[in-house]
Symmetry: C3
């Protein structure tokens, strides 16, 4: 993946910027990160799991990142640090800065006269920005994005093509929104009036904190009366649905295809596995980890890991077991009867 | 959330428009609805659940909506009615009319010469409207929407930015489509030709009834041969997938992340909880409620509530139980053996 | 659905093009395919399942497609062939060619000077094509699509409105992407740095093979270091999430709402049912069929059908059974105790 024009750094330069100790030839230059299997001479790789040590024998990497215990696992030029995976993340960010977007507003964009666009903002073709909206310094709005009236966007945000923000929503600094993200659409608010559904106007906003990243085609609805809130540092993967009046605590991360129903309050530093569903009007404390495919039906008051997945099996075996799943109550009754009969026999 | 310019109404004026009985000072003016906890002087709140009565002691609301049983629960200026939640929905709609969009077609929009756009329609920037398409009076087509050839859109519809309607689809009056909605994409129609998949042209349409609302990033496929049909008054939340040739009966509501497989026929006045999956080629009668996270694998002939969710538990406890889930058949065999041995003992 | 202008063919002409044996009047002309129930005089229908034979008595179809066993099931003009469903698919493709798009680049499109657009390509309004991107002969890029820098698109592709391809991604020939598809967004790559998440730049690409079709609002992330790969002939339905570094083997098909977590490797000729979730870093061999709603938590080494769905039931019955699901381990213990007591009784 190394672009021909990729800038290179010596290990000494890298350690000066990011810390760590250089062992071997510190003048060795690298321009890209890579897996041990794919790395070439100009690449630096990392060992974060001892089970991959064997790959050190064959890797073509020009340099490595090791933790202190593995400092001498190979004689390649190397950087030794506390957490090779975190070091790799920082180094990759150094080697792969996001593509620069030239400041300025594309001639095709429709910017309301009352919108305030900072001078260093880049706005692509076919973008709309509504009345009284504001976009902070350094932010990049990709082609075809639609920013509603009175939306507030912080500094150094990056919206990929095709993002939609409904009116009045608030986004912090350094927010990354991937293509297809929709922020602030109406929540699913309905009142049943005899046999019809009456729409309840959704007059809250969606409020997104600093350093939030939201994956492609994820949706975050606006609040019904109060706001929907995504606190700082939250990371949402693709295809997630966040319903109205949800609050997601700071630094919580959710994998793809998760659904969070209305008014759920999720704590800080939680993780939610792919495809999990969290029902509405419940509370989950900080530091809860929910396994993939799990359905959370009531509040969680204690930190920990929670799971509800049915183990898969070969279909023929599943058929045998599944039949019993519908008759567990009868099975429990049968066991109780047998116990009584045994008691009776024991009594004799 | 109250905009400074929000129009206010006295309780007497509201009751004249929406019914209900005013108690206390009918000249009290309100301009917005709010929860009891957030309400300020110019706001009106509502009590729909007796368990929130305690909040009446502290609410700053200027007025309340009560049912007849709670008519004297507080001495605030108030409106008494049969169903406070429905009344609140209607009042909120009165106080929060959707933002007006100026009639007219944006200069950047691409409207086919043969398209028929009613005079009061508003069409935003970067919209495409195909040949022979028509858009009825009062409809608002947000920026970047794409309306295919021969699509028919009724009166007073509202499409938020970035909606796509494929050719030939039919939409009724007052249809609301949120951003990212795709109507009429090809259904997943494949014939297996030896070891390849052959695409089957999808020549049916998607037909959407009056008063349907569809949430952000939801998809409704066109039919394979016949049409996919969403009947009047259906409400679909975000991130839902409706496959080809599905029919959804009038006034049915589905929460986020639901998937309906091909040719399923869902009755009227049903509800489907978030993340539920309904398999194809089955029928569900009217007035069925399907719980969140439930997988429906065969037809449902009787109204009622249906569920298949595995209860979640702490992971360590789940691990213990899950092991047995794969061995229920063996457990049932064991119970039968024990019963036989008990019988044998009893016989002696 | 038959357009007035639909071209018609005689059965003899069809058999000359697609094979099969004509019985009855080969001069019979048909212009559209239809179900037996909906077919009219100019339509041809097919019988692929003997259980629908009864419809032959009432169908108004002008002609039928039969397999050899059913060759004389009706005296209508008919084509007899090995596989009526495959024949129908081919015939429908003949009768329903995709709408032609005039070659050329819409005046509103933003095409980078260094992009290479083949002469027969059609590019719609409001499309962006980035630097050094290329689009092969015969491809059609619908309105509002965004093609990133250095993207490579093969011949005869068709992108419906609103598709986004991030930079550097590679797509083969005859790729069909439906509206809302996002290819190459950043994978969900995070390193935990104390109590924060650090973003890991996603420097791999998404590489899509020939003859792949991807449904509306489906997302395929780019790789973290290496590429995400969708091999030739893969068919993905709507609302699917494919995470970074996944590989999907040739001719595998996945139904709607599926989620595949990072670095999963799925074999060739697999099928995945709607709403299934496949966890990351596991391998599934060729010819595996995963049932709808199933959660795959570990590698699958043998071809076959795999399932984990909990059977649904009426809610009241489910409540009774679900309580036991949380106590299976205690139930197993109880059975073991009973067995010991029986042994003791037997010993006496």
């Amino acid at each position: 993946m190394t672009a021909a024009s990729q800038k290179s750094y010596s290990l000494d330069e890298i350690a000066a910027l990011l810390g760590g100790e250089v062992l071997g030839n510190g003048a060795t230059r690298v321009s890209q990160v890579a897996t041990m299997a794919a790395a070439q001479a100009g690449d630096i790789s990392f060992l974060s799991n001892p089970k991959y040590k064997k790959l050190l024998e064959t890797t073509q990497a020009g340099a490595m990142i090791f933790d202190r215990d593995s400092a001498d696992a190979a004689s390649l030029p190397r950087i030794v640090c506390d957490n090779p995976y975190v070091y790799f993340a920082k180094l990759s960010a150094l080697l792969n800065p996001p593509p620069q977007a030239a400041p300025g507003v594309d001639a095709s964009a429709r910017i309301a006269a009352s919108a305030r666009i900072a001078a260093s903002v880049s706005i692509g073709p076919f973008v709309s920005v509504g009345r009284d909206a504001c976009v902070g310094e350094g932010s990049v709005i990709g082609e075809g994005c639609s920013i509603g009236d009175n939306v507030s966007i912080g500094r150094d945000c990056r919206f990929y093509p095709g993002v939609v923000i409904y009116r009045d929503c608030i986004l912090g600094d350094r927010v990354i929104l991937h293509s297809g993200v929709v922020i602030g659409a109406d929540g699913f608010g309905l009142a049943r009036d005899h046999d019809r559904w009456l729409k309840i106007p959704q007059i809250g906003r969606a409020v997104i904190g600093n350093d939030v990243e939201i994956g492609a085609n994820t949706t975050v609805d606006r609040g019904a009366l109060d706001d929907t809130v995504i606190e700082e540092g939250v990371k949402l993967d693709n295809q997630i649905q966040i319903a109205h009046n949800v609050r997601i605590g700071a630094h919580t991360a959710m994998a793809g295809c998760v659904g969070i129903a209305g008014s759920a309050v999720i704590g800080k530093h939680c993780t939610v596995g792919g495809g999990a569903i969290i029902l509405g009007h419940l509370e989950i404390v900080d530091h809860v980890n929910i396994s993939a495919g799990t359905l959370i039906t009531k509040s969680i008051r204690e930190p920990g890991i929670y799971t509800s997945a049915l183990p898969f099996s070969a279909h023929a075996q599943w058929l045998k077991n599944a039949a019993h799943l519908r008759h567990l109550d009868a099975m429990a009754d049968k066991i109780a009867q047998l116990e009584n009969r045994i008691k009776e026999l024991e009594r004799k």
